[in-house]
């Protein structure tokens, strides 16, 4: 509590120092969306085999121009997604952005505070359906399994830059986050059970980088992103050890008048060492999706996506895994074919309808299906109605 008051006082002092003589320029935006999920075979975001409405998101953000090329921005949001997210209000980002170079040819600056992490095309704006490529994120973004909370924002700093060179617009961001403890919800998401709840799990050395090139003359955007993190589990404990993960993402997009073609490939390397359990393991998984957005009309888009993810690149059908562990091989991959339709009404409303046919259970949310038998051939229908201003 004291730290928070001290922080607010410091922020206020900073505001008063920077405030120009005239009124500060600011913008306020927000959004709210309610989802409906119906699934066959496995639960997804709630009791979806009986239709779940446990899927909604809402947020409010503000941005204040303090002058001297300083921007102050913050967003609070809440999101419920069955057992994988708890509907609690959280601070999504709160940052100070200072652009020390701000010209049409070159921009460079830094951001500090709680910042959105750059990864691929969609990670930083993933919590708003209006900025996602569909209702559900492609699998590489770890929306239903693993630690999504590691991905969306982190407390730390970023350095960013942009250069305009002929038809190319190059931009880069690098960021690093403070070490922190995982919350109980995050530990439950990670373990798929409550087994880590009394264990101390730290995220250390969390780093992000993304390089992007927008080539206007061929309407193409390319990007390369990297994430690096280490999870350290309480020393002196049976489960003590570390999990080191690296995620590399290659992204490409082509934006034509009536259609867009998007594709991203992700390589996920992890190394886990749990001496107390005698585990020393290295693994490389990957994932690829291709999406076609077809703009039937200005306000109506049909989208098709094929999304594949594999827990182990060397064992794409999971048979080696099944042989070694006796578990279901279908847990090691997920092939998702998606058909969706989005409709925008005016500047504020949007409606999305999406159907997924999925082969494999790698994307089944652990927290929604604890102890349940998993159906390897399953389907999802998701709808979402959203409002933004």
């Amino acid at each position: 509590m004291n730290a928070r008051i001290g922080g607010s006082a410091a922020l206020l002092a900073m505001l008063l120092t920077f405030a120009p003589a005239h009124a500060l320029d600011y913008q306020l935006h927000g959004f709210a969306a309610q989802g409906l999920v119906n699934s066959e075979g496995n639960d997804y975001y709630g009791d979806s085999t009986r239709t779940s409405l446990d899927y909604y998101e809402a947020g409010l953000n503000g941005s204040l121009d303090l002058g001297h090329r300083v921007l102050l921005s913050a967003q609070g949001l809440l999101r419920d997604a069955g057992a994988t997210d708890d509907g609690q209000l959280r601070l999504d980002y709160a940052l100070l952005d200072y652009a020390f170079i701000d010209s049409s040819a070159v921009t460079a600056g830094l951001r500090a505070g709680r910042v959105k992490n750059p990864l691929g095309f969609y990670n930083d704006a993933r919590d708003v359906v209006f900025t996602r490529p569909g209702i559900l994120m492609p699998q590489l973004y770890l929306d239903s399994v693993g630690l999504r909370s590691l991905l969306f924002s982190s407390d730390g700093g970023q350095l960013y830059g942009r250069v305009s060179a002929g038809a190319h617009e190059l931009s880069a961001i690098v960021g690093a986050a403070r070490d922190r403890d995982l919350s109980d919800l995050e530990k439950r998401q990670l373990a798929g059970s409550n087994m880590l709840n009394s264990t101390d799990v730290d995220v250390e050395d969390l780093r992000f980088a993304r390089l992007q090139d927008e080539i206007a003359s061929i309407r193409t955007t390319l990007a390369f992103s990297v994430l690096d993190a280490r999870l350290a589990i309480e020393p002196g404990n049976l489960f003590s050890g570390a999990l080191e993960a690296e995620l590399y993402v290659l992204s490409a997009r082509y934006d034509a008048e009536h259609f867009s073609l998007i594709s991203e490939y992700a390589l996920q390397r992890s190394r886990s060492r749990f001496p107390g359990l005698g585990i020393s393991d290295k693994n490389t998984g990957d994932s690829l999706y291709v999406q076609l957005d077809w703009r039937l009309r200005r306000d109506t888009t049909l989208y098709l996506r094929h999304d594949m993810s594999f827990s182990d690149r060397g064992d794409r059908n999971g048979r080696d895994y099944a042989r070694e562990t006796g578990q279901d091989r279908h847990d090691r991959f997920s092939h998702d074919s998606t058909l969706g339709l989005s409709w925008r009404y005016g500047a504020h409303w949007g409606l999305w309808l999406e159907a997924h046919l999925i082969d494999g259970t790698a994307a089944v949310p652990n927290a929604d299906n604890i102890g349940a038998l998993r159906d390897p051939h399953w389907s999802l229908f998701v709808a979402m109605l959203g409002y933004r201003f």
Partner: protein, 149 residues
Amino acid sequence: MRARTAAIVLLLSATLAHGAHAEVEVITSPDRSAVAIDRSLLRALFTMRVRQWPDGTTARVFVLPDGNAVHDRFCREVLGTYPYVLRNTWDRGVFTGTGFAPEAVSSQAEMLDKVRRTRGAIGYVDRQPAAVAPLMPWTLTQIAEGSQP
């Protein structure tokens, strides 16, 4: 403020067969009179990648709604992009806390009014309804020759 009568020269690609006067023109507030705007600055302003003019004045960007025909022509003919691409760029800036969105106006009359009265403002209008032309005390800017679209 008296209108300046500097001619606007908008470079269009060779495939567009327009005469000396383009249909969609960039307009700025009177305090921008001495500013030469090249295509690179124009694009940077409308994609919200720069927040201020070279002299440090905060840029105030005004746009017509996404479905508006003049907005559509402005995106294609002047910026060389599509309305949906711009919309995606603005949304990402707004929902990641990294930028402002341009201010939406509901009509060309409102566009003219706001741009004239707001310091550091930039917008665009369709000059064609000839009756509108004499009512516009805006400052015309010159798009530098030879810049890439």
